[in-house]
């Protein structure tokens, strides 16, 4: 019964029956429809239409009808007739032999048994598979999807699906022809087609596939190429695909080039902030230039590069967010075009409310202090971009997902709100290692929390699972084997006090080593060597001379305790040594932009490390210790001994006890150390994008000295040159300096070259090193950055300034590669050839060395 809508009459629903339901319960369908017995509705009316729409939207039915079966007064009995969409019983894919591909297709199209086989499903499956093959170059791929009722024992409404795939042959482009081009050569035009290439034996990287969407894009690229050359009116008259045979097609493009145009007068209209001259300079295009439509657009606004120095950014970086710039051709005569660049500057925009969302762990104060955009500040696109970069560099968030959202942009009041959304990323690392080495099992447990919250450690609520979010770093490390244990703890607060970025770092470490009995292969617990170390440092970013400078200070203390243990460092086996130092450093780091592959800038550091000059006031005469009774060699009964270790006889001179003398000398270590390092990065050549050939020039220098020559320079804190520069397990505060092409730590001071025995390697007190490195990036993707390098290096160590000769160096050259992955840090391998012999050996050039690099060393 069809009734016009306007004559809807009010009925009470007496009953609802459902017919045609197969897999669904009748009640379920009624409940889903929302209709209930006793409800008052208009028939026909809005309510029933909505119910119908709701049922249709469920995609479960292929037909839905309402009937009134009976009317008693104003009580209506309804019948809901439905036809269910069949379910998929089984799917078969024909025409593909590989099982894995079949499974993939089923998965990608979600053709699992039980899904509803709607019209939509069959169409999307067909299109999906066809497009998939076309993308791989199977231009003639055809897919037919058919269904047939399935015989099912339960009698349910099911169908089988057969997907027939005929992918055809792979089609290649044998030839691309151009007609009508006089000004630009065929080869040049073919180059302009970036993703549509003709077949060529030498083409390995990009295959000559035909993909329709890429081709369309390439046609625009082709016209843009003409526009760049001043052919403003160039157009494609027609283009044809010609089928050569089953697996080859040819493309023919008919062109009309039109005339070449030149730029005439450029006039700026509406500019009050900048003068015509300033804008003209920023535009960089002047009268008489070839008319380059693409460049002109880019110079005005380049949406592909938010950092570009175009006109739009000139305004936007200085607060004119609402500015609009339109170039208009005002006159075309002969081959010359006059322009007007019409500028609507609009009101200056100011930030009003700045907010951050998405910080589930990191506390507000850690983020807000890094934001470069502030409430009340004039709008600057540059500051927005800098904020994104710097918040990304914190390492607490996924740098790819930080985005600025402009909110409440109000041209009338000239204000806008900025909301940065961030996504927290895991900032903690766990290192758990076990291995066999040094005569036994070595286990390492390292934990580092890069977004720790010290204030949260007493707050039970904050443990989720650990107190996080104050931007502090806490790392703990323990390493143990059968004969030594070492524990360390580091803590860094980057904004100590919260008012400015003064970083406070503290570290604590403890090492206990037992004598390892080689013969019995076990540790002798009665003989031990303990080192306790504590360090506290402050580093402050400076504003003067510029904001790349950092001033750092640190106080460190180390105590070495020996218990019947001869390390080779000391001449005594029982005793102790303290090392209290103050370090002052100034660094200037302007390396940019990518920290892994800097292309510009430089990095200098100058540090000075001192101990107090105890010998100035402690009154000990270090020159004549062996003349003093308490430092002379004696036996167990306290009788003095002579040089032969026998009781002193008349006429014998008592001799000093080296152990006692050294104990006195090293009770408190006394030295000062000056170091300088400098690196410069220069881009020699840019191959486009961020493929820069970069030269890194590096020089470094270090000197360890004593205040009191009688006391001498301690055997600690010395310089060891050579090899990969990786800090070995060292007890004596040694500085390991890389010099490729030579074995690790083996480049001993030059003056010792006369000594035939080079193993007398107790470190140097003076060194210098120079290196030149050429770097070229292979890829700089965030997932993995890889670059190749070649280097020239030279360095040498000395025992004192008398021997210092900046031209007598150990030289080397070589090449290598570096891979940086965020999870692993920097890894690399270098091959270096040492041109000079290791001092002390007369063996001629040192020859090839292979170095494995872990972490940033060079």
């Amino acid at each position: 019964q069809d009734l016009p809508l306007g004559q809807g009459k009010k009925y009470t629903i007496g009953s609802i029956t459902v017919t045609g339901a197969e897999s669904y319960n009748e009640q379920t369908i009624i409940a889903y429809s929302g209709l209930s017995k006793g409800e008052e509705i208009f028939i026909p009316g809005d309510r029933l239409s909505k119910v119908l729409k709701k049922l249709w939207d469920s995609n479960l039915f292929s037909d839905i009808n309402f009937y009134i079966t009976n009317v008693e007064g104003d009580v209506a009995h309804l019948e809901l007739e439905i036809t269910e969409v069949p379910e998929l019983a089984e799917v078969r894919i024909q025409g593909i032999s590989k099982k894995r591909q079949t499974e993939e297709l089923i998965k990608e199209n979600n053709l699992t048994p039980g899904v509803k086989v709607t019209e939509n499903l069959t169409t999307t499956t067909k299109n999906y598979i066809e497009n998939k093959y076309k993308k791989d170059g199977y231009l003639n791929a055809k897919v037919v999807v058919s269904t047939s009722p399935a015989v099912d024992t339960t009698g349910a409404n099911k169908v089988n699906m057969v997907v027939n795939v005929d992918r055809g042959d792979k089609v290649k482009i044998s030839n691309i022809e151009f007609n009508g081009n006089e000004q630009l050569s065929n080869a040049r035009l073919r180059r302009a087609l970036k993703n549509t290439k003709q077949k060529n034996f030498f083409r390995f990287w990009k295959r000559s596939k035909f993909i329709a969407s890429d081709y369309e894009e390439d046609k625009t690229n082709l016209i843009n190429k003409y526009k760049e050359k001043g052919f403003r009116d160039a157009r494609i008259l027609s283009d044809t695909l010609i089928r050569k045979d089953n697996d080859n097609i040819a493309i023919r493009i008919n062109l009309e080039e039109g005339n070449r145009y030149y730029i005439g007068d450029i006039e700026f209209i509406g500019n009050t902030v900048y003068t015509d001259e300033q804008l003209g300079r920023a535009l960089g295009i002047s009268k008489g230039d070839i008319y380059n439509g693409v460049l002109l657009k880019e110079r005005i606004a380049d949406p592909s590069d938010p950092d570009a120095a175009d006109l739009a950014n000139l305004y936007k970086n200085n607060g004119y967010l609402f500015s609009q710039i339109n170039p208009v051709e005002t006159r075309v005569y002969n081959d010359t075009i006059d322009f007007e660049i019409r500028i609507m500057e609009g009101k200056e925009a100011y930030f009003n409310n700045i907010s951050v969302v998405g910080n589930d762990k990191t506390k507000d104060h850690v983020i807000y202090r890094e934001l470069r955009t502030k409430p009340g500040q004039k709008y600057s696109q540059q500051n927005v971009i800098r904020t994104l970069r710097e918040v990304g560099q914190l390492g607490f968030f996924d740098a790819e997902q930080i985005s600025p959202d402009f909110q409440n942009v109000d041209p009338n009041s000239g204000t806008l709100d900025m909301q940065y959304s961030v996504v927290e990323a895991g900032a903690s690392q766990i290192e758990l290692q076990g291995g066999y080495g040094g005569g036994g099992f070595i286990g390492t447990l390292g934990l580092s929390f890069n977004n720790f919250s010290l204030s949260g450690i007493f707050d039970k609520e904050a443990y989720k699972p650990l107190p996080m979010g104050d931007g502090q770093t806490l790392s703990l490390r323990a390493q143990a084997s059968i004969f030594y244990q070492t524990y360390s703890l580091n803590f860094v607060e980057p904004w100590f006090g919260g008012q400015r970025p003064v970083s406070l770092s503290t570290s604590f470490s403890y090492t206990r080593q037992f004598f390892f009995d080689q013969r019995r292969r076990r540790a002798d617990k009665s003989r031990s060597f303990d080192i306790l170390g504590v360090n506290v440092g402050l580093a402050k970013r400076l504003r003067w001379p510029d904001d790349y400078f950092t001033l750092s200070q640190a106080v460190g203390f180390q105590r070495y305790d020996l218990n019947n243990y001869n390390t080779g460092l000391f001449t005594f086996g029982d005793g102790f040594s303290n090392n209290l130092t103050y370090t002052l450093g100034i660094t200037r780091n302007s390396e940019g932009i990518n920290p892994i592959f800097p292309t510009t800038g430089s990095n200098f550091s100058l540090t000075a490390k001192f101990t107090p000059p105890y010998s100035l006031w402690n009154g000990v005469d270090y020159a004549n210790l062996d003349q003093q009774r308490e430092f002379q060699l004696e036996d167990a009964d306290g009788n003095l001994l002579n040089a032969d270790g026998l009781r002193l006889r008349p006429g014998d001179e008592p001799v000093g006890d080296r152990g006692k003398i050294d104990q006195e000398k090293f009770k408190w270590l006394e030295f000062y150390k000056i170091k300088f390092k400098g690196s410069w990065f220069n881009t020699l050549y840019n191959f486009g994008g961020n493929s820069n050939l970069v030269l890194r020039t590096h020089a470094e220098f270090g000197f360890l000295g004593a205040y009191n020559n009688d006391r001498g320079i301690p055997p600690f804190e010395r310089f060891f040159l050579g090899g990969d520069g990786l800090g070995a397990f060292s007890l004596d505060g040694r500085e390991v300096i890389a010099l490729r092409g030579y074995p690790n730590q083996q480049v001993v001071p030059m003056d010792r070259s006369t000594i035939s025995q080079a193993s007398n390697n107790d470190g140097a007190t003076l060194y210098n090193k120079y290196s030149l490195e050429l770097r070229f990036p292979i890829t700089l993707k965030p997932m993995a950055s890889i670059y190749a390098l070649t280097f020239l290096e030279a360095g040498a160590t000395y025992d004192n300034f008398r021997d210092y000769n900046p031209f007598l160096l150990n030289r080397s050259a070589g090449a290598g590669i570096r891979i940086f992955m965020p999870q692993f840090g920097l890894l690399g391998i270098d091959f270096g050839y040492g041109f000079d012999p290791i001092p002390g050996s007369n063996a001629g050039p040192n020859g090839w060395e292979t170095h494995f690099i872990i972490g940033q060393q060079f």
Binding site: Q27, N352, D364, P375, G469
Partner: protein, 261 residues
């Protein structure tokens, strides 16, 4: 227990329903988390099967309520929200609406983290308050909502205060200027806040610091702005208020500087 395992694995929905309901009732009496968890595992299985059937209403409610009792606030909030949508005519919809809101209340994190959940909880509580002006939980709902609003106010206040705190850092005066704008926004946006007095004070102090740390030719104008903020403070607050003495002392200095200019 083995019976539970058997029902969990094999039984048909009716049996599972009966056992789940029994577990739920017992859990409610004994306040036993483990029984609630057991019930949840059963409900998980049968809720989809009863959807659209007459028992669905009760099952869905008990399911959500079990989550609520074990303190799984995220799922409780979500399930109660679904219940309210699916059964708007149910007798227990008021309770469900309130418990949904309260679950979101528990999810709200500390003030200095992202407050998406807080905003959601306030909206849900407000929904309850609007729908049941004479509701059973009205007082509690109002208290909870007030709690969360203070939290949002604290967030805004602390952000503004940080600009004041880092005033000496960065581009000259930029952070003090930011503090002034942020406190002004705060004062306009949260008229009844407990931090209002402090906001007025800090806005003055930011303006005062901004002025005295600026070049001489700008100082007069900026001191006058600070004076205006002082007057704003005085309009609402007087002796005995928390920052009165501090603002008075700074203001005296400000006056003497203005006279000496």
């Amino acid at each position: 227990c083995s019976e539970y395992q058997k029902v969990l694995k094999e039984a048909e929905p009716g049996e599972k329903y009966a056992m789940a309901e029994k577990l739920y009732t017992e859990a409610l009496e004994e306040d036993s988390n483990s029984k609630f968890r057991k019930a949840i595992r059963l409900f998980e299985q049968i809720v989809p099967q009863y959807r659209g059937k007459p028992q669905g209403e009760k099952v869905t409610f008990l399911f959500a309520d079990s989550y609520y009792h074990v303190g799984d606030n995220y799922l409780a909030g979500y399930q109660f929200e679904r219940f309210v949508q699916a059964y708007p005519n149910s007798d227990r919809v008021e309770e469900a609406q309130f418990k949904s809101a309260k679950s979101y209340y528990y999810l709200s994190p500390r003030y200095d983290l992202d407050q998406t959940e807080t905003v959601k909880a306030v909206a849900e509580l407000q929904k309850y308050i609007d729908a049941y002006p004479n509701g059973e939980y009205l007082e509690e709902a109002n208290n909870l909502a007030a709690d969360l609003r203070v939290k949002l106010e604290k967030k805004a206040f602390e952000i503004a205060k940080q600009y004041h705190k880092i005033g000496d850092f960065g581009v000259r005066g930029e952070n003090y200027k930011a503090a002034i704008v942020a406190f002004t926004n705060f004062i306009n946006e949260y008229p009844g806040s407990p931090f209002r007095e402090a906001a007025f004070y800090y806005r003055f102090d930011a303006a005062y610091q901004y002025a005295i740390n600026s070049y001489e030719y700008l100082m007069k104008e900026r001191l006058n702005t600070a004076r205006e903020y002082y007057n704003n403070y005085k309009r609402f607050y007087s002796e005995g208020d928390e920052h009165f003495d501090a603002i008075q002392a700074s203001f005296n200095d400000l006056e003497s500087r203005l006279q000496n200019l």
